[in-house]
Amino acid sequence: MSTLTEPRTTTAGTPGRKSGFTWEQVRAALPGAFRKLSPKEQWRNPVMFLVWVGAALTTMLAVVEPFIGGPADSGGTVVPWSFTWAIAIWLWLTVLFANLAESVAEGRGKAQAETLRKTRTSTMANRVTAYEPNTDAAAEQAATTQVSSSDLTLGDVVVVTAGELIPGDGDIVWGIASVDESAITGESAPVVRESGGDRSAVTGGTRVLSDRIVVRITSKPGETFVDRMISLVEGAARQKTPNEIALNILLASLSIIFVVVALTLNPIASYAAAPVSVTVLVALLVCLIPTTIGALLSAIGIAGMDRLVQRNVLAMSGRAVEAAGDVTTLLLDKTGTITYGNRRASEFVRLGGVREQDLIRAAALSSLADPTPEGVSIVELAEAQHGEFDRNTVGEIVPFTAQTRMSGLDLPDGTQIRKGAGSAVLAWIEDGGERSASTLVAELDEYVERISQSGGTPLVVATKDPAGAGRLLGVVHLKDVVKDGLPAKFAEMRAMGIRTVMITGDNPLTAAAIAKEAGVDDFLAEATPEDKLAYIRKEQEGGNLVAMTGDGTNDAPALAQADVGVAMNSGTSAAKEAGNMVDLDSDPSKLIDVVRIGKQLLITRGALTTFSIANDIAKYFAIIPAMFMGVFPQLAALNIMGLHSPASAVLSAIIFNAIVIVFLIPLALRGVKYRPGNASSILGRNLAVYGLGGVITPFIAIWLIDLIVRLIPGF
C-alpha cells in the first residue's frame, strides 16, 4: 500500500510511463492527426473549425491568384506573391498541430487499451444449466454446458476452476479462490476472492490460480468492466464535462465577436481607408480567436483522465474528475488511509513489583504463535527491547475467541499466559478463585484508562502458575500509528479549503485521540454505513461537495450519494457500480491524489485560456499597423515590435499562433504544476505566469520570428 507522500507512477500494461511527450508518440499520433483534418471531425470544435475554414479559403485563393494577376493589394500595401501560400500552409499547420495534440493525448491511452483488449479475447465458459442455490450451491451435480464468454448474459452462473480465465464480471456465489488480477491492476500478487462479504467480486479476464468457484455474471456482454476500461483509456467514451462545455461557450462567443470584427472591417475600411485582402482578414481572424486553448482543450481533458489512469484510478466520467477539483469535504477511512492498517505495540507498561523482563517475556511468548499483525508487532517490540527470543517455544496455543476475548499459550510445565481485554483477563484470574489485590487492580485500571484516552488499545497480560495462582503483569500499549507526513498533508488540504473527516468504527474517545494526532478536522466514530450516508447528506445540504472511498456493498448508497465516490477494486460489484471512480490498487489514500488531479485539470484549462487571450494584445500590435500602414503611414507608431514589413508582420503572427500550440502540448498533457495554497495565492501566481507571461511572450516571439521571415524574398 502506498503512502500518501509517494506518487504512484506504475501502470497496468505500461509500467513506468512518463508524462512527457516523445518523438515516438508524435510519430504514432501523426496518422490520427491527418485523419482529423476532415471537416466532420473539426465541426465539433468551433474555434478550430473556423481556422479550418480559413485555411481552406486561403488555399483556394492561393490556387486562383496566379490566374488573376497575383495577390491583391491589402490596405494599400503590395504583398509578395508567396504570401497567400505561406499563410495557407501555416493555417493548415495550425489545424494539424491541434489535431496532433489530441492524437498524442489519445495515444497515451492506446497502449493500455491494447493490453486490456488481450484479456477480452473470448474464452470458453462452463455455464451451469439449472443452478439451484439452495440445494446445490457448489453446482457439483448440476449439468454444465460450454459456451463462449461473449454469449454470457446477466444472471448466468458459471463454474471456474484453477487455471481458467474468469469469463465475465460477476460475484462469487460459492467457494473461495486466489485470483491473479494483474491484467487489470498490474499487481502481480494474487488476491483472495470468496463468496459472501465484501470480497466476492471478480472481474472478467482475470485468472483463477487455485480452487474452484461458482460465479454469477453481473454484466451484460460488451459492458464488462474491461470494456468500460478500454473505452475510458482510449477516450472514446469521453463526454464533454459541464465546465468544458461552459468554457467552449465562452470561447465560441469570443470567436463570434472576432468574426464580426473581421466581417465588418472591410466595409468600414472601404470608406475611411482601403479594404484589406481576404488573406489578411483571415489571418487577423485566426490570430484573434482563441486558437491556443481551442486547439488544446480536448487534449487537456483526455490527459486529465489519463493522469488518473496512470495512478490506476478509473474515472467513469469526466464530470467526476471535475467534481474532484471542487471537493470541500473529504471522508477518509481511518484504517489504511490515516493509520497503517493495524495497531502496533508501542510500549510495555508493567505493574508495580513486576520485573520488566517478566512482562516482556510473557507478552512475547503469548504472541509468538499469534499470526495477527498485532501479535507480530508485540514480538518485534519485545525483541527490540529484550533481544531475540527462541521462536520454537513449545506449548499449547490458545487462540483468540470472541467469548474469551483473550489469547495466549499454555506451557508444558502448566504455566498459562494470557493477554487480552482488561475485564476478560481479570475475570480469568478470579476464575482461579483468587482476587487480585485492589491496589494492583486500581493501578491497572489507571494504565488502561490512560492508554484508552490516548487512542490506543490496552492489552492486559497475566500468568497463572501451575498451581493456579494468577498474577497480573502489566499492559501492552497497542497503538494506531498515523502515517508519516499526514498532519502536514491535512494542513495543506485545509489551506485549499478542504475539510478532512475521519471515518472509524472506533469509540469516540479513541477516534478523538487519533483525529487529533492526524490533524483531521472532524471525525465520525462508531460509524455505520447509515451514519456515513447521513453525514454526506448533511454536508451536501450545506452546499459542500463530498468525496469518499468505499468497498463494501453496504457502502454503496454512500458511494452513490457522494459527489466523488471512489470504489476499491477489491470491493463488491455493488460498490463499484455505485461509485464514479474505481481504484485498481484499492488504496483509499489515493483520494487526495484524485482531488489534486481534478484541480490540476481545471487550472490547466484556465491557464491556457488566459494565455491564449493575453496573446491577442501582441498579435494586434503586429497585425493592425500592418493592415493599414499603406494608407495611414502614421500607424507605424503602433508597430512597437519594429516588424520588417506588413507581409512579414502578418505571417510572423500566424507562425507564432501555430507553433505556440506545439510548445504548449507538453503542458497540456502534463498539466500545470499544482502547488497547494489558498485561492488568492494560486490566482496571483497563475495570473502572473500565464496572464502577464501571455502578454509578454508573443511580443518577443513574434519579433524573433520576424527576424527569420524577413529573409524570405519579397517579405
Partner: protein
C-alpha cells in the same frame, strides 16, 4: 494649474459620492426589500391590478419589462404623430414617422439620442407627457432589472426574482421623484429656467431680433441627469445657459448623473449580505472612471496645433464658463454613465480626446454606467472574470456562492456579444449597403474621411450602448440613421435585459456554495484588478481595429 484644478474637481466628486455611498445605497436596498407598501403605491397596485406581495418568475418579470416598454414606445410615438392637435404644441407639426420612431425608442430605452433639435421639433405636451415620463420610468426599469439580478445572487433555491411592477413603482416614487423635486429646485436657484413662455422674440443690442425659446426646463433637466437619460430640452443640451448656467450647476449636474450608478454597488453589497462585494464593484468603476478622466483631460490640455497652444488647451467646442476640466469631467461622466448629455461638443475634441468618450461607451457602460444598467453590465463582466479566475485556482467557478456553469456562462457570453455586434454591424452596414452609403456620405457626414467614419461609429456606439450622446457633425435625422439607430437602441437595451433576467432566474434557483479558504475572494484588490483587466481587454480586442481606422489614424497623423 490644470493638474490642480483636475484634482480639485475629482476630489469634490469623490468626496460627495463617498459621503452618499452608504446612506443612499442602503436607502435603495431598503426601497427594494421593504415589506411595506406606501398608501399611494397600494392605490396604484389596485388600479393596475397587481398583487404586490406576489413575486414573479424571471419570465414573468421579463414579460412585465417588455410589455411596459412596448406600451411606452407606442405612447411616445403616438403623441408625436398627433402633435399638431395637442395643447401646448407651440404650433409645431408632427415629426416624421422615422424620427418619431427613433425618438420614442430613444426615450424608452433610456438612450435619449436626439436626431432632432428639441426646441424646434417638440411642444410641451410631448416633452412632458411623453419624454419626461419616460425619463423617469425608463430609469426605474433599468434599476429594477439590476435589482432583479442582485436578487438572483441573494436568493437561494427560489423560483422568483421579485415583482417588476413593485420595483418599477417603488423606484419611481421612492427614489427618482423625491430627488428630482429637490434637484429641480436647486437647479432653479442656479438659474435654470422653468416656465411655459413658448418663444419670446427679443431685440438684440445691435438691433436685430432673436427668438428665445422658454419652457419647463429645470424639471426636465434634473431627471435627464438623475436617470442618466441625457435628452436635453434644448439642442445644445447642457452647454445651453438655460439648462446649465454656471460652473457650479455643471458640477451639480455631474453629481446628479453619478449619484445612483455609484451608490447602487452598495445596494448590491447590502442585498447579497456582504458590503465588501459592493466596494469591489464600485472600485472597478472608480478606477476606470478616474483613468478615463485623466487621459481625456491630459489629451485636451495638451491640445494640438497653434490655436489650442494659444488658448492653453483644446478649447474648440467647449464653453468658456466650464473650461477644459469642467468639460472633460462632464464628458467623462456623461459617456461613462450612459447619460449622453453634453456641456461641450465631443466632435470638436482632439482626435485622441474624442476617442475617450467613445471608449467609455465601448466599455459597455460600466464607468459607472447608467442607472441599473451599469450595475448589471459590470456584474455580467464579473461573471466572466470569475469564470476565468475560478479555473485558474482549480475550482469550477462560483460568484457569491453561485456556481457559474454552462447556462450562466452562455447567458453572460450572449450578453457580451450583443453590443459589439450592433455597433460594428450598424457602422459597417452604413458603408456597405450601396444606396445607404451614398445617402450617408452625401447628407449625414459633414466631415468626410476618417473623422466622418468616427462620427458614424460614435453614433452607433452611442445607440447600442443606450448612451445617447452624439459626436455632433453628423446629420442623423435621415430615414436610414433614424431607423438603424432606433433598432440598435431597441436591441441594445432589451436583448441584454433578456439575458440578464434569465441569468437572474438561473442564479436564484441555485443554492449557495459555502465559502472556504479554497474559494476565490471577490472583494480583494486582485479580483478588482482582474475585473478591470477583463473589462478593458474585451473592449480593446473588439474595437482596436476600428479605432485604429478612426481616432487613432487621425490622432497619430
Amino acid at each position: 494649474m490644470t493638474l490642480m484644478y483636475a484634482l480639485l474637481a475629482l476630489a469634490t466628486v469623490a468626496i460627495v459620492l463617498a459621503v452618499l455611498y452608504r446612506p443612499f445605497g442602503d436607502y435603495m436596498a431598503w426601497v427594494y426589500t421593504s415589506r411595506k407598501d406606501w398608501k399611494i403605491e397600494r392605490g396604484i397596485y389596485k388600479v393596475i391590478g397587481v398583487d404586490a406581495k406576489a413575486e414573479q418568475t424571471w419570465q414573468a418579470y421579463l414579460r412585465g419589462v417588455l410589455a411596459f416598454s412596448a406600451v411606452g414606445v407606442l405612447i411616445v410615438y403616438t403623441l408625436q404623430r398627433f402633435q399638431q392637435w395637442l395643447p401646448y404644441s407651440l404650433g409645431l407639426p408632427a415629426p416624421s414617422e422615422s424620427l418619431s420612431f427613433n425618438t420614442a425608442v430613444s426615450f424608452v430605452t433610456n438612450t435619449n439620442w436626439q436626431s432632432y433639435s428639441p426646441e424646434l421639433t417638440l411642444g410641451y405636451t410631448v416633452q412632458f407627457a411623453g419624454l419626461a415620463v419616460q425619463n423617469f420610468v425608463s430609469a426605474a426599469v433599468g434599476i429594477a432589472v439590476a435589482i432583479a439580478l442582485v436578487r438572483g445572487f441573494a436568493y437561494r433555491r427560489s423560483g422568483t426574482i421579485g415583482n417588476f411592477w413593485v420595483d418599477l413603482i417603488r423606484g419611481t416614487l421612492r427614489i427618482l421623484l423625491p430627488i428630482a423635486v429637490l434637484g429641480a429646485i436647486v437647479l432653479m436657484i442656479g438659474g435654470v429656467i422653468q416656465n411655459f413662455n413658448g418663444f419670446t422674440t427679443v431685440t438684440t443690442l445691435t438691433g436685430g431680433t432673436q427668438t428665445v425659446p422658454g419652457g419647463p426646463t429645470a424639471s426636465q433637466e434634473v431627471i435627464k441627469l438623475l436617470g442618466t437619460n441625457g435628452g436635453g430640452f434644448f439642442n445644445a443640451n447642457s452647454s445651453h445657459p438655460f439648462e446649465n448656467p454656471t460652473p457650479w450647476t455643471s458640477m451639480f449636474e455631474i453629481l446628479l448623473m453619478l449619484a445612483i450608478p455609484f451608490s447602487l454597488p452598495r445596494t448590491f453589497g447590502r442585498m447579497v449580505g456582504d458590503n465588501r462585494q459592493g466596494v469591489a464593484i464600485v472600485s472597478v468603476m472608480a478606477v476606470l472612471y478616474i483613468a478615463s478622466f485623466s487621459i481625456l483631460t491630459a489629451l485636451e490640455s495638451a491640445g494640438m496645433g497653434t490655436a489650442p497652444g494659444l488658448a492653453g488647451g483644446a478649447m474648440e467646442g467647449k464653453e468658456q464658463r466650464f473650461g477644459i476640466i469642467g468639460s472633460t469631467l462632464f464628458a467623462t461622466t456623461s459617456t461613462g454613465t450612459s447619460t449622453g448629455a453634453v456641456n461641450s461638443m465631443h466632435d470638436s475634441y482632439t482626435a485622441m480626446g474624442g476617442m475617450m468618450p467613445m471608449l467609455n461607451m465601448m466599455l459597455g457602460e460600466v464607468t459607472p454606467g447608467g442607472v441599473g444598467s451599469g450595475l448589471y453590465a459590470i456584474l455580467i463582466l464579473a461573471v466572466i472574470a470569475v469564470f476565468i479566475s475560478g479555473l485558474l485556482i482549480g475550482r469550477t467557478p462560483e460568484y457569491l456562492g453561485k456556481k457559474i456553469g454552462p447556462r450562466e456562462i452562455k447567458l453572460a457570453a450572449l450578453y457580451i456579444l450583443v453590443m459589439p455586434t450592433l455597433v460594428l454591424a450598424g457602422t459597417a452596414l452604413s458603408f456597405a449597403l450601396p444606396g445607404v452609403r451614398e445617402k450617408v456620405e452625401s447628407t449625414s457626414i459633414w466631415n468626410p474621411g476618417i473623422h466622418g467614419m468616427s462620427e458614424v461609429l460614435y453614433a452607433f456606439t452611442s445607440a447600442a450602448n443606450n448612451n445617447g450622446s452624439a459626436f455632433a457633425g453628423l446629420t442623423a435625422n435621415t430615414p436610414w440613421l433614424n431607423t438603424a439607430l432606433g433598432v440598435a437602441m431597441l436591441l441594445g437595451r432589451f436583448v441584454p435585459i433578456v439575458f440578464v433576467l434569465a441569468l437572474a432566474g438561473s442564479l436564484a434557483a441555485q443554492d449557495k456554495v459555502p465559502t472556504t479558504s479554497g474559494t476565490l475572494p471577490t472583494h480583494r484588490p486582485m479580483f478588482i484588478g482582474l475585473l478591470t483587466a477583463v473589462t478593458v481587454l474585451v473592449t480593446a480586442l473588439t474595437f482596436f481595429p476600428v479605432l485604429a481606422l478612426g481616432p487613432l489614424a487621425e490622432g497619430l497623423m
